[in-house]
């Protein structure tokens, strides 16, 4: 019923967009000094993965959209991860009085 979906935009466009988003997230994850920004970068990477899942589900698995179900589970896990991550961040801030990633070096050799 919806051939314009496949003809309008190629699948590769979504893949390239997701790759850009994922690499931006990885760069931010490595280079952020603020711990809140690290969590935001993780959210960016999860969204990039979700874009990939949704694009594959729509272009290659059009009848049994299993990718969309997976995307829903990823969203659920991402919400749980954000809640626990921010709680850890809060108790870390109470203990060390900073959010600077460079000063969380207790386990560094």
């Amino acid at each position: 019923m919806d051939l314009s979906l496949s003809s309008g935009i190629p699948l590769q466009a979504f893949l390239v967009l997701a790759a850009v988003l994922f690499c931006t997230g990885v760069w931010g994850l490595i280079n952020s000094r603020n711990a809140v920004r690290v969590l935001m970068s993780i959210e960016l990477m999860l969204n990039a993965v979700n874009i990939n899942l949704m694009a594959f589900s729509s272009y290659l698995d059009g009848q049994l959209i299993r990718g969309q179900v997976f995307a829903i589970f990823v969203i659920t896990v991402a919400a749980a991860e954000a809640a626990v991550g921010l709680a850890i961040l809060l108790s870390l801030y109470r203990n060390r009085d900073t959010v600077d990633m460079e000063r969380f070096n207790l386990l560094r050799w």
């Binding site: 019923m1 990885v26 959210e43 272009y59 969309q68 749980a80």
Partner: protein, 199 residues
């Protein structure tokens, strides 16, 4: 939802530009509050992309969960750890940024190459607007166990977050030594709540 091809391309261009610009802003802006609001823009644009892929249920879930819950949580975290601190300079920061940029660029080239050299073929006709019905069927037949496990996971995450973020509350007032009315514990007179960092 059938839109003309040109309209679709314009929508995709606008949404993907917003996503990329917002993601760069999240990573690069010095003010973390602006970064959090740009993150909401990225989430909304990704929801728009889902709508273009005829996935209205996942788009609604994206808006509700990411913009409504995760982003608000991040804003609360920014408010709770709101301290202006001058980050101490660390040696080799430029080199580290350059190296990580190279690694990310290499990963990007690899992903692009995979995306353009793989013969993806074409799948069956997409279900279009029946997607929500199919998702419901999946969630209550072959994905029932993961669906139930997700509820347990969310419960565990909720309890874990409460335990981790809870402050130490004493049963006696530190200042006066009198018993504390537990019902009033959230009305923050400072002696009632002991901040661990104040020790």
């Amino acid at each position: 939802m059938t839109i003309a091809s040109t309209t679709q391309q314009i929508c995709f261009a606008v949404l993907s530009t917003t996503v990329v610009a917002g993601a760069l802003g999240v990573v690069l802006l010095p003010n973390v509050v602006y970064a959090a609001f740009l993150l909401a823009g990225v989430f909304l644009s990704v929801a728009g992309l889902y709508l273009m892929l005829n996935a209205s249920f996942v788009a609604a879930a994206q808006v509700l969960v990411y913009v409504g819950a995760v982003n608000v949580l991040i804003l609360f975290a920014i408010m709770l750890v709101n301290k202006r601190e001058d980050l101490a300079a660390i040696p080799g920061l430029g080199l580290r940024r350059l190296l990580s940029g190279l690694v990310c660029g290499g990963l990007f080239v690899l992903l692009i190459r995979v995306a353009f050299t793989t013969p993806w073929g074409s799948g069956p006709e997409p279900v279009g607007e029946e997607a929500t019905i199919r998702i419901g069927e999946h969630l209550f037949s072959d994905y029932l166990l993961p669906f139930e496990l997700a509820s347990v996971l969310l419960l565990m995450a909720m309890i874990g977050a409460i335990v981790l973020a809870r402050r130490d509350v004493f049963s006696q007032d530190i200042g006066t030594g009198e018993e504390v009315d537990q019902g009033l514990i959230e009305k923050a007179r400072t002696p009632l709540l002991l901040d661990r960092s104040a020790r």
